[in-house]
């Protein structure tokens, strides 16, 4: 009976504990309004006060989003280390992958063209010398024919 009761209590408490955010994680995701570094890197009085508020709200098991929303309501969106995924802020999230994609495309095209040029060169240059101009080749044939004759 005691075991069943303990199990029931554990089942109730464990998900609740798991839902509580980690204060240290939050401190790395929020900016100190006076020194503009993340809270975990700041010992400014304003940062200390916000950290204390975060610890208090975590102890009350407020959700991460709730705590962030409360701080944004007081300090504005600049308190978030990562900009929100809405409106003009999307540009911050979209530009880096777009840049990487563009760079990858440019590199792929360059590599493809370079390897194709090398292939063509290999076909035309089996004896290690650059191919002759057709006109020059005809002229050379004529000269050799005259010499042979």
């Amino acid at each position: 009976m005691r075991f069943v009761l303990a199990l029931a209590v554990a089942l109730v408490l464990v998900p609740a504990a798991a839902a509580c955010p980690n204060a240290a994680d939050l401190e790395g995701e929020l900016i100190c309004p006076t020194c503009k570094t993340t809270l975990d890197q700041s010992d400014a009085p304003a940062a200390r006060r916000i950290k204390s508020l975060i610890r208090q709200r975590v102890a009350e098991c407020a959700s991460e989003q709730q705590i962030k929303d409360e701080l944004v309501a007081q300090f504005g969106p600049a308190v978030l280390a990562a900009p929100p995924k809405k409106g003009f802020h999307w540009i911050v999230w979209l530009l880096p992958p777009m840049g990487i994609l563009a760079a990858a495309t440019v590199i792929s095209v360059l590599v493809w063209r370079w390897s194709r040029a090398r292939g063509d060169e290999a076909v035309a240059d089996s004896n290690g010398r650059p191919p002759l101009d057709p006109e020059l080749e005809r002229r050379l044939d004529r000269e050799l024919a005259r010499f042979d004759g």
């Binding site: 304003a46 007081q74 300090f75 440019v106």
Partner: protein
Amino acid sequence: MAGRLKVAAQVVALALVAGLFALLVWKVATQEEGAAPKLGRGETPAAPAFHLDRLDRPGKLSLAAYRGRPVVLNFWASWCVPCKQEAPLLESVWRRYRDRGLVVLGVDINDLRGDARRFARQNKMSYPLVYDGPGKTTTQYGLTGVPETFFVARSGKLVCDRVEAGVHLEGNKERFEDCVEEVLGA
């Protein structure tokens, strides 16, 4: 075809670099200089306007509401120790000169609203208070910290140099009182 593609790519790359450079130049050229450096150069710039939530009662308050009256504009925060120490002097100046039209206006910056209200209650601050949690006024006024005190003449222009650190401090108190007299007469 490949040559034309290459030229187009070069043009796009150049346009991109030129665009980014133009953006940088624009940002630097239009960057707002705070009021404090102008005051330091002996200029009398217009006091930057603001429209903020009141801390001492519901509603909003604009600096423009006090046009025609001299204003002692004090920036403070509840986590700032000198702000607590200078509060009684600001309160006494407000009580002494309000009959002559002087307004002491406290702007709470980078602070938690609840903490600021508690601070105002504990320090018996009866003058008007506004709340600027995000600290937008810090850039407009060019603050380097808190507390800082500015003086706004009836014309809406900043006069006298700002007082950095607590107005109660040795060396600041006399200058603060001189500036209060100056703004009352301006």
